[in-house]
Symmetry: C2
Subunit: 749 residues, 2 copies
């Protein structure tokens, strides 16, 4: 396939064509959505207010961000013009292009979302399937805008840099990083600003509406209702769009940069572009798989969306294999890409498991509400911490596998693979807020109950896909960040220019970084388990106290003594029983890693686990345990003292007539403070302090086992031949000649 | 001072003597406390129940842990006996000694605490000063047990290993690590088990007592009251004791190990022992500074405790300078030790700032309770996240400064310095639970109101010192973990045996690890700011909605339309305004580090900030942003769905008569679930998703600036001479000859 691998032009053109097809599809979907019935006058009026508010916000936001974009652009131009700065002034062009493309994707996605919401409500009054089609079509507009504009920008810039400006690919790739930076600059403000907007409006509306004015959610009497609906769009649609725009562009850029900096062959440079192009085209095909029949259950609705995602994944997988063979990149690169693709699907699955009401974790969370506000908050936090386990371990496995199969480049293409189906996964995700808005509009316009039932079904489905989508967004962001980091270290430390392995080899060692992830997990899992243990043990105490009040005559009247000892015994039993698991995990993980390091010296295990893993676990657990411990201790202490502050009569407020009142025990603020204190108690007294030990435990276990590890490395000749096992190479595909720099150790004086 | 530096024996003997003095002081304080009046019959009965429960728990806990200790011991012996394993079988001996010493310190501290509580209550009925003295004396018993047993164990083992077994100091130091491991094995279970116990009893007692039985806190009618009081002792006294035992021992062992492995002179090996010995003796002197006069205010009470800590710190600082000069270690090591000492005091101060009701953060937290349970929970979490800033930055500065002044050894002695005043800081900390218990006993025994007022004052003071103590415990744990990590990497990668710099030089680079800390901070600070922004913006919405209801005629009756646009405008304004700070921090920190890297090439700045810092920021933010993002998204999603699950009528419970009931909207569990959802909303829709961008932002900024950094490094000849700037050396004190191994880069195939 020489025409593809002679230079990057053909592949860039293919990418551009795929993007244009994607844009055309987005346009056709947009036109179809807009051609739908927009409902009665009341509905159009409400929808009009939402449209106006959303667009006003985006305009204001973009105006604010534009200042930053211009400042950064000027800075980049100046840096690029300074002689010997090493930066290309064209980075500034890529930056502005990225910012504009990301902004356009967000704006376009929101434009259609605020018009699809009312049409979804109207369509739902006709049939469930039609409602689903309208909302989902709006999602596909957004998704295709994101992937197409990202790939289009990269394709055009790449051709411009290499063909018009005749930059070498390494410089072109480096300037291309500006495109990603532009996208991120928009994204950070879109996510933060949109996030604040959406929750401020929501929380504010709820607070005053439910507690003070006594009007239902989404009541048209609440002045903040429209702001609440606007929030759904600016946060979840525009924000999510620019977030994934950046991941998508970032992963492709990282892969190209790594290929270019490491002097890999042209095939490695064009491969990410072609995988992305393929993904766009397949995403379009797969979006036609999404439909359902009337009266579908929640499972059937979910399955209809899943069909699209799974179908696209299967087709893309076949395409990746074909592409890899066609470009002669070898199975290493193919498998690395596939591992990312599969990892993305798995992350989505586990996110659903932890957050959907159809599975145990959320059901148990609901049951814990019987224990009161504090208990469900604690349990939810614990659940959140525990849920880090699956996605982080999936990223760990994908990283280890991809780098084993394809080196650093493998990590980057794994990220590309994970994001290759974005055209359809983002569509299912962007569908959520449209369905949510549709429900709100149906409520406010007082449509019939059957319509409301349908929009409820669509909305509930949207919550599930939104959660899955969030998980996918986080996982792919982490993979992209890893890929970008690899590209950065390669770039700073010389890449092909001056091979400097000391720094790069160590930090680019996947065992180290994955070890850090595992280490970072430990404090989260450990805290989660200890907080859950408190809840369980407290339940046993409650049951026993109730039993005594029922069975001991005179106790309730204060005439008989309770049986304190049984309570002490129960506390003792359950504390001892429940400390075992977290304790063993803390001691066990470093020991397990050490054992794997030693037994893995001569075999495949050593490719994935080594002394670098143990160092990584050490560093990772140190970092997150430190942060979490401080946060938990201080939050707990502050809640406790805030409660005491109120009890001391220091908190003053105003009553309805504007007179000053002092809040005391049993006042509403005091009750709220008690909830805070209940959350804070296991924070500051169970999980937080235990983390101190974890901090040191991992380090001390490592230190104790150090001679063992050192010796096993020495026996295998690793130490004497200086670390060949830790040398990671980006030259998986086309090895460069060996280099032998000398390292000097100069003691500082 | 040849007699001190000829061999380690003299210093070990001095350490042993200081420990024995400390133990004797602890014994005299114990006798004094026990000689105090234990109050009336009712009080003795209550105190007896607490004593029995606490001792039963510790016995059960130790029995459970003993199994683990024996298993680990056998494993260590086997590993030590395997030929060529590199481990000394004496590690097992050190391990068991450490476990026993840590257990004894915890047991002894608790023994006196459960006897001092009732005597404090009785003494408080005489005078405030007397109550303070009794409670504080009990704290000094505990504190001196911890430091003395730790130093005694290290001193005796060290003499035994070097003089009786004639091990070389490197092997002796390596075996000594087992002592720390033994301490940690106890600590992990003491902290987790004690933490679960204390909060299970507390939460359980509160839940059933306040909400179901309607009896006040600490009521003798509640069967769980005694368990609650037992919990204070097993969690805060025994757990805290074994925690700090481990930090204290770990820091000394790490310093000795680094000195021994790096072939530093004997002075460097004996210095940590002597600093610790000095700290014990000064702590005893300083504890006499703690007293107060009758009718003292809260500030005066606090100051009386502070006098002890600050006095001890000042004296130890003088002693450290004298010792360093005496041993001829140079100002580098002295300053490193002092930086740790000062850092510890500062961490305590900032912890107090963030958690005490005397300062703004907690007061504002209390005010936020007016917004309801969800709001105060969110704000408390945000406050906790924000409060990571000070301690982490202090540890960053101490690490950078100490390693600049004294290399890796400097980091270890900074940890030793921070913990050198433990004899007094732990005493003020262990005082808290005793005062707390005294209050409970006074309440249960129905002592007079004036007594209760005094115990309340003592208790409230105890809350403050407990928070400060927790901050100190976390900070010193992090420093100790860093020191242990440095010792581990030095040990695994050869130390003086085979100088292998590739791995060790990079990972022991303080710029890298401190960069990671700064990076890890970013997601916490960023999330905190965005969550606080939601609160602020929501308040504005609430005010506007109220204003409209007051001023628009007919709105409340549903006859007039509200002014939606103003609400939309307010949301827009405040979201735009509040997105600036978090956004700028996210973009600004990596840019700032990059700028410092470039300008710091030829000057002092380069000693503390470099491209390694930027890589560290990248890795650190990647790790914590990934974890936090998953946790927040999933917890938010699960709370949301748990609420919906209840609303759907899936949650069933039993009413008082045991009949099944279905919980719906407005039921108590539903209200609790709404609180969870309110906390989850900004988690999953504001902070969580914004973290995705942060993940990539830091990486992409770094990548964009990569050519700049690369070029500035190249111009300065750093890249061509391969990294002399990143070479960290442990040979600060006695440089070893230069070594020049060659590094081979072997591309994997």
């Amino acid at each position: 396939m020489d025409f593809l691998t002679d230079n990057v032009t053909v592949a860039s053109i293919i990418a551009i064509i795929a993007s244009v097809v994607g844009l055309a599809f987005a346009w056709s979907q947009r036109s179809w959505v807009l051609s739908q019935n927009a409902g009665n006058e009341k509905m159009t009026k409400i929808a009009g207010a939402i449209q106006k508010g959303a667009q006003a916000f985006l305009r204001r936001e973009y105006r604010a961000v534009a200042v930053l974009v211009v400042v950064v652009m000027i800075a980049l131009i100046i840096l690029g013009l300074i002689p010997d700065s090493g930066m290309s002034p064209w980075t500034a062009l890529a930056f502005v292009t990225g910012a504009i493309a990301s902004g356009a994707a967000g704006y376009g996605g929101m434009y259609i979302a605020v018009r699809a919401n009312v049409r979804t409500a109207q369509a739902a009054s006709e049939s469930l399937n039609k409602g689903l089609r309208v909302a989902f079509s709006s999602g596909t507009v957004m998704a295709n805008l994101v992937v197409s504009l990202a790939l289009l920008g990269i394709g055009i810039l790449f051709i411009f840099f290499t063909n018009v400006l005749n930059l070498d690919t390494a410089t072109a790739a480096s300037a291309l990083a500006g495109f990603g930076f532009g996208g991120t600059s928009i994204a950070i403000f879109a996510r933060v600003g949109g996030g604040i907007y959406t929750k401020a409006a929501d929380v504010g509306a709820d607070l005053v509406g439910k507690t003070e004015l006594n009007i239902p959610e989404d009541s048209p009497q609440n002045p903040a209702t429209i702001a609440d609906n606007v929030g759904d769009n600016v946060g979840d649609v525009a924000g999510m769009g620019s977030d994934l725009f950046e991941s998508y562009a970032g992963s492709i850029i990282a892969a190209i940069t790594l290929a270019a900096l490491s002097n890999m062959n042209i095939a490695a440079e064009v491969y990410p572009l072609l995988v992305a192009a393929l993904g766009i085209l397949i995403g379009i095909v797969a979006s036609f798989l999404v439909q359902t029949k009337e009266g579908a259950t929640q499972e059937q609705l979910l399955w209809s969306l899943r069909k699209g995602v799974y179908g696209a994944s299967a087709m893309v997988a076949v395409g990746i294999v074909a592409l890899g063979l066609l470009l002669d990149l070898g199975w290493g690169v193919i498998l690395a890409t596939l591992s990312g693709l599969i990892g993305g699907v798995l992350i989505g699955y586990f996110t659903e498991y932890f957050t959907s009401g159809s599975y145990k974790p959320t059901q148990q969370l609901a049951s814990s509400a019987e224990g009161g506000a504090g208990i469900i908050v604690i349990r939810g936090l614990a659940l959140g911490m525990l849920s880090t386990l699956a996605p982080v371990m999936i990223v760990v496995f994908v990283t280890l596998f991809a780098s084993w199969a394809g080196g650093l480049y493998g990590i980057a293409v794994a990220a590309v693979g994970m994001l290759s189906t974005l055209g359809i996964t983002l569509a299912t995700d962007a569908y959520g807020p449209v369905a949510d808005n549709a429900g709100g509009i149906a409520e406010m316009s007082e449509l019939g109950e059957s319509v409301r039932d349908r929009t409820d079904a669509l909305d509930s489905l949207g919550n599930t896909t939104a959660a899955t989508g969030k998980g996918f967004a986080i996982g792919s962001a982490a993979m992209t960040a890893l890929a970008l980091m690899a590209a950065f270290i390669t770039a700073v430390k010389g890449g092909n220019v001056i091979p400097d392995t000391t720094f790069a080899a160590v930090l680019l060692e996947p065992k180290l970084i994955t070890g850090m992830f595992v280490g970072a997990l430990l404090p989260f899992v450990f805290s989660a388990l200890s907080m859950l243990a408190v809840g369980k043990a407290a339940q046993e105490i409650v049951a026993e106290v109730k039993r005594q009040w029922k069975t001991i005559p005179g106790l309730a009247e204060g005439k008989a003594d309770p049986d304190y000892e049984t309570c002490v015994g129960i506390s003792t039993d359950s504390a001892i029983k429940q400390m075992i698991l977290p304790g063993l995990i803390a001691v066990g993980v470093p020991v397990l890693v050490a054992i794997l390091t030693i037994v893995g010296q001569d075999n495949i295990i050593g490719e994935f686990v080594g002394s670098e893993t143990l160092v990584g676990v050490l560093i990772g657990s140190l970092i997150t345990a430190f942060m979490l411990a401080i946060m938990m201790s201080n939050a707990g202490g502050a809640w406790d003292n805030a409660k005491k502050y109120i009890e001391g009569g220091y908190l003053k407020g105003k009553d309805e007539n504007g007179n000053e009142i002092v809040y005391r025990k049993k006042s509403e603020p005091h009750k709220a403070a008690v909830v805070g204190d209940t959350v804070g108690d296991p924070f500051k007294d169970t999980a937080g302090p235990s983390l101190n030990i974890l901090l040191k435990l991992v380090a001390i276990v490592a230190l104790v086992l150090a001679p063992l590890i050192y010796n096993s490395l020495e026996l295998d000749g690793v130490n004497s031949s200086t670390n060949t096992d830790t040398t990671i190479t980006t030259e998986q595909v086309t090895p460069t000649p060996e280099v032998t720099p000398s390292v000097e150790v100069t003691p500082e004086s």
